[in-house]
Symmetry: C2
Subunit: 449 residues, 2 copies
């Protein structure tokens, strides 16, 4: 069965580049067509500078093709959340057990590295500045327009895989060729803007290096992730409209007073804050769900093209990489019978990508609001305490999603809901603050499981 | 404030025609542009022949503009569900109290009547065969292409209201003019096909006239609604794929054996069944949710254009008519300040249309599966019993939706879920079959409320 295929990938983003490596190692010929210029040649337009949190599902996919160690060189471990409260006090919550961490990587940095690694495969070629115009499924042809020369070319291939993000050209082709295409795009009321905390003297880190910093403020929040040069990339997640919103900070004069009120400790470390705020774009946050993801053995969607999610669980990239893991496993299982692989892939991944989409929306509330509340911190302490005593009986939803790639997202969502129902009962007990680590609470939780 | 507006309506369907009457009575000038030919001149293409169930929300809207009695002339009351079981036995469930009914109307019939009534207003004109091509919000202009002459014309008006159904041209205009447009289209796995039970001799009804007939078969069902001429319009709701599905009945020879097995009593009354099944189209069932529905004081969506739902609660038309009721009330409340009316309208109606969409999906399970199960019938009996004794404490979700237009759909959905949680407990009691009407059960329910 294992015959070499001529495969077109649309998009050389994170998932497209990783998939190209996987397919190349399976001896297929891969051509990637990327809309943007080669970001490695011009760091000024290196995609969005946002940082991403790489965790175990991502590492699993990278290690499976032997490139994990290459990526570890550009990743900074973050062992917990570092909470910055309004009153200047701080708190720290470990993400997991000792040495469990999520890893800060720059989106541009890891993307460049993955493209390098892809091009090291002799049977991968990346074509830049090629925007996908239309996909014709009758002839297995994709038409690309060169964004510089404006010349169009038709590329015929054995199969097409569309890894071109939330506004995918491949998805449109499926939509136009499917009688009953289920589709959802959902924008949350918040957008985001990137800001920066520069490095201190000699590239020193001005706040704790090995943590993800959060300034939770109820309806909005700022976060900061470390970069290798000592700087932090900050992201303000903020309503578009309302009392505290991008809309309310249109005037230059309104910006600093707002930040000084809500992010006093950070402002002191952000000398370019005002210009950054006025000049950097405001971006929106969309969840995209759709189905089907594939058409016979002709076309498949992968990554954000199939399931764009909001960033609050740090799983967008990890979920896309896990798509690659599953895809690779199914190619083994079905001995590269592509039609069967495509079908099994979409059926397997759909419930899990739906689950992480919902978990990510839910985590926004947790990050911007709950992590700043004593009751929530107590609940996390009780859960950690119980989990330490009965590690086989209680893995938190966060841990399942982040550190347990053997547990499917859909299982993590379901078990997380069951755990929350138990914790709702526990937290409603009178005097829970006093008896939180008592045998009574331990037996109560045990009895509910 | 109340100055005459020049209003373009896209679509002279049920909701568009009713809205035209409302706006005309408020002294506005209304031009309706309808894609299809005038269905009153050519009954052969009178839209879909499907029957609809008109209930209290619909009547309220019709009576408010004084046309309820005109429509009553073409409506047949159905006082309950008439269940046809596999074994040939039947059962009857009243929809509500004595004299509470839903009303069978032919979609084409009521639409023709509403267009007649609209045109009786001197300030309403309907233009047929005019397909909306594009809406330009900068100039308040809609472009229509005549489907016969192929000539295009640009119509400028003070405001545009799009009542053009699930695949609305006006909605596309909002989508293209809104930064963050939330949109969902969801197809269920079942489609439908219309069949018929003709009248008996002298226009007699061959099955009970004043009921909605259901043949529940678990994963599929057939229903039948009465027509004035003694016939019944039957609809088979059936999976597209699987063991019992449209896919599995592609061969002419497979159709009658299937029907004889699952709908034996009906087949005997359906002489044209085989030809109807082979010749009539198979249609799909989509739920559409979106937001926003309006752009400043320029454009608004109404009816299916804003919120298409599946037909299993019999509320698609009723919900669209209730849109008109709310719209009319808001025009009073805001003294025809259109921007405020549009904004208040979409904010008021969005949660209710979302709720009825979810209720309608849920009712499919009830109709095709649960109504055939003894346990479900017992639950309905307990609820009816309790509701009779404590009418102020328990109105069933069905009753709230169908017979209580003063209760919002969103409230009906929430209260229905609360009631279901109570009934889940009640039905789990041992020996519930024996003590279903005991004081013990009554007090238990009272204690939970």
């Amino acid at each position: 069965m294992s015959t070499q295929k001529n495969i077109s990938l649309i998009g050389s983003g994170l998932v497209g580049s990783l998939l190209a490596i996987i397919l190349a190692k399976r001896n297929h010929r891969v051509n990637i067509y990327e809309r943007r210029p080669d970001m490695r040649k011009n760091t000024g337009v290196a995609g969005r500078s946002i940082n991403l949190a790489l965790s175990d599902r991502g590492w699993k996919a990278l290690d499976a093709v032997g490139i994990g160690d290459e990526i570890r060189k550009i990743a900074i471990p973050m062992y917990g959340r570092y909470i910055h409260n309004m009153d200047g006090s701080t708190a720290y919550q470990a993400y997991g057990k000792e040495n469990q961490a999520i890893y800060s990587v720059s989106r541009g940095g890891i993307n460049c590295k993955l493209m390098d690694l892809a091009e090291q495969q002799s049977n991968v070629k990346i074509h830049f500045d090629e925007r996908c115009d239309v996909v014709d499924l009758k002839t297995n042809t994709a038409v690309f327009e060169n964004t510089i020369t404006k010349k169009k070319k038709s590329i015929q291939s054995d199969l097409i895989i569309s890894s071109d993000g939330a506004f995918s050209a491949g998805r449109l082709a499926i939509q136009l060729n499917t009688d009953r295409f289920n589709y959802q795009q959902y924008y949350i009321d918040c957008g985001y803007k990137e800001l920066t905390i520069p490095a201190g003297e000699n590239g020193s880190f001005l706040i704790e290096k090995n943590a993800l910093h959060i300034w939770p403020r109820g309806k909005f929040m700022m976060i900061a992730l470390p970069n290798f040069d000592g700087s932090f990339t900050c992201t303000l997640f903020f309503p578009f409209e309302g009392e505290h919103s991008f809309d309310a900070l249109k005037e230059r004069s309104a910006v600093l007073p707002f930040f000084k009120t809500y992010f006093a400790d950070a402002v002191a470390l952000m000398p370019t804050l005002l210009d950054d705020f006025m000049n950097n774009p405001t971006s929106s946050l969309v969840t995209v769900k759709c189905f089907p993801w594939t058409i016979s053995d002709k076309l498949a969607l992968i990554g954000d093209a199939a399931h764009a999610i909001v960033p609050f669980f740090g799983q967008g990239m990890n979920c896309g990489f896990e798509d690659c893991t599953v895809f690779n496993q199914l190619l083994d299982e079905y001995k590269e019978d592509w039609e069967k692989v495509f079908k099994a892939y979409e059926i397997s991944r759909k419930p899990d990508s739906d689950a992480i989409a919902d978990l990510a929306i839910g985590n926004f509330v947790e990050m911007r609001d709950l992590v700043g509340q004593p009751k929530f911190l107590l609940q996390k302490k009780i859960e950690a305490n119980f989990s330490n005593k009965h590690p086989e009986k209680w893995i938190t939803a966060y841990s399942m999603v982040t550190f347990s790639p053997e547990i499917r997202y859909s299982v993590a969502l379901r078990k997380g809901k069951e755990q929350q129902a138990i914790m709702d009962e526990v937290m409603a007990l009178p005097d829970i603050e006093k008896k939180w680590d008592s045998p009574e609470i331990e037996s109560l939780i045990l009895s509910k499981l």
